[in-house]
């Protein structure tokens, strides 16, 4: 059974998009690139197993590492989304800073 890297990468990106929701536009570049790499590795593991180059235990361990790396990519994507929200709030506060400081008569913001 052959697995196509592009198909797998697209499926992984779709799942990530669902998981990350509104943050997706902000993080899609990073996530698509890294998940594409991980899809290639996934296919390579399949080939190693098919060719008998790893034992069953080793194959399971490689899959564990694969899951960990994918999770780490998703954590970064999530973090990038949070930083995006932070930036948006700070920009919004920046726009009202002068008005608020003037209204209280001292530098609150």
């Amino acid at each position: 059974m052959s697995i196509k890297v592009s198909k797998l990468a697209a499926e992984m990106a779709r799942a990530a998009k669902e998981e990350l929701g509104e943050a997706w536009p902000e993080v899609s570049g990073f996530a698509k690139h890294e998940l594409g790499g991980l899809a290639r590795t996934m296919v390579m593991i399949g080939t190693l197993v098919a060719q008998g180059k790893v034992t069953k235990t080793q194959a399971r361990l490689l899959l564990d590492i694969q899951k960990n790396s994918t999770r780490m990519v998703m954590l970064t994507a999530e973090g990038l989304g949070v930083i995006g929200v932070e930036r948006a709030i700070n920009a919004a506060v920046g726009t009202v800073r002068e008005a608020v400081n003037a209204s209280v008569g001292w530098r609150l913001l």
Partner: protein, 154 residues
Amino acid sequence: MKGVKRARVVERLLRWATLVALGSILPGCTVRYIAEYDEQLDTQVMQLQRKIEVLLVRIEGRVGTPGSDYGRFEGDYDAIEVDLRTIEVRVASKPQNRRTAQQVGLLKQSVAAMKAIHQEGITDVDVVAVLREQFRSAFVAILTLELAKKRGAS
């Protein structure tokens, strides 16, 4: 009249509550939901990445010979584990660093898995190629988030 007065008081209180809330969530005038950039962590993670890459290159060059046996690399794994624990403590000491802490925990698990794979014996360079790509992704993830914290700073 009483109702109008009360409404004015409530309005004034709400206005002040909003300002106090803004002030309290904005130390230094910015909100922060994620830890600040840590230059030392950045350096430590890059050094660890280099150690793992050196290990992979050494294994790769010796695959198929007794030189690739796990026993010859025990010291390398010990050094990597020490680095990981140091990084783990540093990451845990920073507030709002949950995601990076989770990533370091996952990296620790991955190193343990690689060690177990090596203990069983690596007989083909393609196994090293897979491990290299997996660890590359892991390190890119950690460093990208860390650098984004720097860019996120105002």
